[in-house]
């Protein structure tokens, strides 16, 4: 760390070392207490905890797919509309992004609950006689997480669609390609980087999600972050919480490392 203009970084580095790097490394050290790997064996071997890992993975995958399904049309629409509409489109993607996750989670509880808005409407319309369970289960967690993470999908896809050369699209249209064909043969291949970046981001963020599963899962949908919190605050089992954290951390970094390998150099930012 010698040479030109290294010193202005020093105060921030001290903060990061003392309040980030050191605490994390210290905690991860607990997982090896006694010099054995027993806590890792428990995390990755016992059925109950394996189930949590699988749950987390499954939810992260589903959330990524759903976000892609909803995020592509939105990113595409904003990128291909007039500047005025695009600004409006941006505001209504960023407003939810910036609204507290708690506010949104609370709102979903109001909407999805047993006596919530949706069930009331469905029952009043005579579509169902008993409330449909949408809260405190898998569905509720999925809806809440897709809502929180959708903007993270829209932004990279918007960027990718913007980078598609309009001349290529015009050429295809001039040669008689239908809109549908232009979409599948030009836009999709040329925006694969954005799709990939969005999916990786949403997937990784999903893995460590805490608030939404904790509140909308109602204790029935346990994801790894919720399990870590329980182990620290209720079971006071630091070594096990540390082993779980290590697993989560390794999974997170592995996905990022894979993503870096598969991303073309020019698309890296």
């Amino acid at each position: 760390m010698t040479g030109r203009a290294a010193w202005p970084a020093l105060p921030a580095l001290i903060l990061l070392f003392v309040f980030f790097l050191f605490p994390v490394v210290r905690m991860l050290g607990f997982s090896l207490e006694g010099g054995t790997l027993e806590w890792y064996a428990k995390a990755l071997g016992e059925g109950l905890y394996l189930r949590v890992m699988w749950n987390t993975f499954e939810i992260a995958l589903l959330v990524s797919l759903l976000c892609l399904l909803l995020g592509y049309p939105l990113g595409f629409l904003i990128a291909t509309t007039t500047p005025g509409w695009a600004t409006m489109g941006f505001i209504f993607v960023l407003l939810p992004l910036w609204t507290s996750v708690l506010v949104r989670t609370y709102a979903w509880m109001v909407l999805l609950g047993r006596n919530g808005v949706f069930n009331r409407l469905l029952m009043d319309a005579g579509i169902t006689s008993d409330p449909i369970p949408m809260l405190h289960n898998f569905t509720g967690v999925l809806i809440g997480m897709v809502h929180v993470l959708l903007p993270y999908m829209v932004l990279p896809i918007y960027g990718a669609v913007r980078r598609v050369d309009p001349a290529v699209v015009a050429a295809a249209a001039g040669l008689g390609a239908s809109n549908w064909r232009i979409f599948w043969r030009i836009y999709i291949p040329l925006t694969l980087n954005g799709i990939f970046a969005g999916c990786v981001l949403v997937f990784v963020l999903s893995l460590g999600f805490f608030i939404t599963p904790a509140l909308l899962g109602g204790g029935r949908v346990i994801m790894i972050a919720v399990l870590i919190e329980q182990q620290v605050r209720e079971a006071l089992n630091w070594p096990f919480a540390a082993a779980l954290s290590a697993v989560l951390l390794v999974a997170t970094f592995a996905v990022y490392a894979l993503a870096q390998r598969f991303t073309q150099p020019e698309a890296r930012t």
Binding site: G3, A5, A6, W7, P8, A9, P11, A12, L13, L16, F20, F22, P23, V24, R26, M27, L70, P73, L74, L77, F90, I91, F92, V93, P96, W98, S100, L102, V103, R104, Y106, A107, W108, M109, V110, L111, G113, G116, V117, R120, H147, L150, P151, L155, N179, F183, V204, L207, G208, F210, I211, L215, I228, E229, V232, W238, S245, L248, T252, F253
Partner: protein, 264 residues
């Protein structure tokens, strides 16, 4: 709409439905916060300010709000004080280990917050810092630093350095160049970075859940209330929070680097 092909019209309809999904939770809290019903009921039977009064009359809520405001403010100041020099060194420095510093500075947004929370909780419990407002500020600064670094490095990369050279060529000292030329030109980035850091702390709940102890921040108080009962007071707090975020967004749009620039 006339003249647009069918596929485009279908896309617009799909987009409208997705926007409805995005905005619905934000919109639904407004009528609920104004409900005259004694408990959660939708649609509200009548209008009243009772839930806002309940919020304003409860010292716990007001306390938590003030605490979140000053912790957010202190976090923004500290994150700027540390993050701006860091960004300068990352963009303009040429030294061994710079890439590593860059990775470390952005790591707090990659590492899941639950891990950071639990880890810092372990250290703070030893140091008896649980419940101390400045402890929360330090942890929130770690989380806000990546936002400041991202916005400031983007601002610095677009910066025209010939303006600095002109100032120095005219005899200005390095310090004078920095304070009279560089920083004023970077003001939009500074505004965005500071406001983002503030909001990231003001909305933060996971770290606060572990470190705040009995000294509630607004998000922690909301989390506890939501966990226990769905009382429409939360709806009124939510509306206040949505309005605050909207004000901050307008401020960034007006005085900061454009929202679209920082989205890139």
């Amino acid at each position: 709409m006339k003249g647009k092909p069918l596929s485009r019209r279908l896309l617009i309809v799909a987009g409208a439905l997705i926007y409805l999904f995005l905005m619905l939770p934000i919109l639904v809290v407004f009528p609920i916060s104004l409900s005259s019903a004694p408990y959660l009921q939708f649609p509200p039977p009548g209008l009243s300010w009772q839930w806002y009064e309940r919020y304003l009359d409860d010292p716990q809520w007001i306390d938590a709000t003030w605490r979140s405001l000053y912790i957010g403010g202190a976090t923004a100041v500290l994150a700027l004080l540390l993050g701006v020099p860091l960004a300068f060194s990352l963009v303009r420095g040429r030294y061994f280990g710079r890439v590593l510093v860059d990775r470390l500075a952005l790591a707090p947004i990659i590492v899941p917050t639950i891990i950071l929370s639990v880890a810092v909780y372990g250290v703070f419990a030893k140091l008896k810092l649980i419940g101390a407002w400045y402890g929360l500020v330090l942890a929130h600064t770690v989380l806000a630093l990546p936002f400041v670094v991202l916005v400031m490095t983007a601002g610095l990369r677009d910066f025209d350095r010939s303006l600095e050279q002109a100032a120095e060529g005219l005899g200005a000292s390095r310090w004078r160049t920095l304070s009279r030329v560089t920083l004023p030109l970077l003001r939009p980035s500074l505004v965005s970075a500071g406001l983002l850091a503030f909001i990231s702390s003001f909305d933060e709940v996971v770290v606060a859940l572990f470190l705040a102890g009995a000294n509630m921040t607004l998000p922690k108080k909301m989390f506890d209330n939501i966990l226990m009962e769905i009382d429409p007071t939360i709806a009124s707090v939510s509306v206040i929070q949505i309005l605050l975020v909207t004000v901050v967004m307008v401020l960034i749009g007006r005085f900061g680097r454009g929202l679209r620039d920082s989205a890139r």
